[in-house]
């Protein structure tokens, strides 16, 4: 059972393999995403984040989700040595982390409901659990940044998160906080695999802002692997990345 809907201005897909009453669960997940969108949508003047930015709402009386996300943003900023910014033009804009955070929460909820084999994909970032319908690890293709119809790498994931940051679709939507007027153009795509989508996503965003150094930053962090593509179509990957290239079959299902 696979379903795609538009949330956060992007297609979000949920696929559940387990034979259960998944229709209800999928609706619940999408409802949760809508709720998160309503809180964090900076374009909506009625959202809590907009009210905070216009001093109409104090942080202490805002939803606990806001506090949680801001804490996470600050943590990421520290861990990435400043290469993660959640203030834009003096306004709080933590959208860079909200998506990964929300998808990870939804996956945790699905697991609590007893689902073991599923994935949620939001705008090209994925958290996968268990195996696909053929009892194999989920096969994920990394898109060619120069040709949207092509896949340039096939990796096998189970119980992992993967996120790709890039400039090729939304223009330069990530910038270096230390020189914002300079566009990042030496690298075009950085894919990060982590224990979950939240870790993969927040570090992919931060590392992308580091430009060519980003892949070395990923290399240093335990539990993260990365695949970076530069403007010349040359890919550089971390030392543990290759283990995701071969499929280890699981026979316990």
């Amino acid at each position: 059972m696979r379903e795609t809907r538009l949330i956060w201005d992007m297609p979000v897909t949920i696929e559940i393999v387990d034979r259960k009453n998944y229709k209800k669960s999928i609706n619940k997940v999408f409802d949760y995403f809508r709720k998160i969108d309503q809180i964090f949508n900076t374009f909506d003047p009625k959202s809590e984040i907009s009210k905070i930015n216009h001093n109409e709402l104090s942080l202490s009386s805002a939803s606990k989700e806001i506090g949680e996300v801001l804490e996470l943003s600050e943590k990421t900023k520290e861990e990435a040595f400043g290469y993660f910014e959640y203030f834009k033009d003096g306004k709080i804009d933590p959208l860079g982390i909200v998506k990964g955070w929300a998808v990870h929460n939804a996956c945790d909820d699905l697991k609590k409901e007893g689902y073991k084999n599923f994935y949620i994909e939001a705008g090209g970032d994925i958290e996968s659990a268990g195996l696909n319908e053929n009892y194999k690890p989920w096969t994920v293709g990394i898109k060619n940044p120069f040709n949207q119809m092509e896949i340039i790498k096939k990796i096998y994931l189970t119980n992992c998160g993967i996120a790709t940051s890039g400039t090729y679709i939304r223009g330069n939507h990530i910038y270096d906080p230390f020189s914002p007027e300079k566009t990042i153009n030496d690298i075009v795509s950085l894919t990060v695999i982590g224990p979950n989508i939240l870790e993969a996503d927040r570090f992919a965003t931060a590392a992308f802002a580091m430009g060519k150094n980003g892949i070395y930053f990923i290399e240093k962090i335990n539990g993260l692997e990365g695949y970076m593509i530069d403007k010349n179509g040359k890919a550089t990957y971390t030392s543990g990345f290759e283990k995701f290239l071969t499929r280890q079959d699981f026979h316990y299902l």
Binding site: Q148, I169, Y216
Partner: protein
């Protein structure tokens, strides 16, 4: 006779092991070009240019300082800013950081620019809101004798002063050497020793410094690990899911994404 031969064997093995470790350690040190044999005073931060202005124009002084030198490594100021977690607003000018990056949560407290000739150091302190306490924090970490007005007595402002109106005040420090606490810098420990002369910081020495696993070592090209590279190549598209940069609501790209999702298996 047997004992003699055993002893000879032992000594030989010992020699081999010793020389191996000795030379490999030496080779590694040469490669990294940092650590001396006794890691006592590892590195030193100083401003390669003497600070001419004593007027307190921190912006001007920072913009003149593009690099600091840690031992023999010339490290871009940006890297040191990360390592020491210097507040963004203080470094704004030279790093071209936009002013809208709010400094209220800046995790760091101290900028130390050590002049090479005359003692005209610039010290900037702000309160920390970060759980990570850096050793470079003079007010919180360096033991200050109680007889002196400790810097912790100063009222803690909620908003650090803007870089344009930076009052430089270093009085209230006792002359001498002070060792900071060991602080976790995420990639290793940092511990500094500062020298105060005439009530001002005149030197900062790193007793511990994240070396080969440090982010700063990684930012500067000298110690980067070697990673494998390849030219990207199209593969067959039989995958469950596709990962790519976040797509926008642009209809074309949207349909492309859903097409790719459908095209799976």
């Amino acid at each position: 006779m047997q004992i003699f031969q055993k002893a000879k064997k032992l000594i030989l093995t010992g020699l081999v092991v010793f020389s191996f470790t000795f030379f490999s350690v030496r080779a590694r040190q040469n490669q990294l070009d940092i650590l001396p044999e006794k890691p006592r005073k590892i590195a030193r931060v100083f401003n390669p240019k003497p600070i001419t202005s004593q007027s307190g124009d921190l912006k001007q002084e920072l913009s003149d300082t593009k690099y600091v030198v840690i031992q023999s490594l010339k490290i871009p100021l940006t890297a040191v800013v990360h390592t020491l977690r210097i507040p963004y607003y203080a470094a704004t000018q030279s790093l071209k950081i936009p002013t809208y990056i709010t400094p209220t949560k800046a995790p760091v407290k101290v900028i130390v620019l050590i002049p090479t000739s005359k003692p005209a150091p610039v010290v900037k302190t702000t309160p920390t809101s970060s759980p990570v306490v850096m050793a470079t924090s003079v007010p919180t970490n360096v033991p200050v004798p109680t007889s002196l007005p400790a810097p912790t007595n100063t009222p803690v402002p909620t908003n650090p002063p803007a870089p344009t109106s930076t009052p430089i005040s270093t009085s209230g420090f006792k002359d001498g050497n002070f060792t900071g606490d060991v602080a976790d810098a995420y990639y290793g420990n940092i511990q500094v020793e500062i020298t105060i002369s005439v009530g001002r910081i005149s030197d900062v020495i790193f007793l511990q410094y994240p070396s080969d696993t440090s982010h700063s070592a990684q930012i500067n090209i000298y110690a980067m690990p070697i990673l494998k590279s390849e030219a990207i190549q199209a593969q067959n598209a039989s995958v469950d899911i596709v990962s790519g940069a976040t797509v926008s609501s642009n209809a074309f790209i949207q349909s492309l994404q859903s097409a790719l999702n459908k095209a799976k298996t």
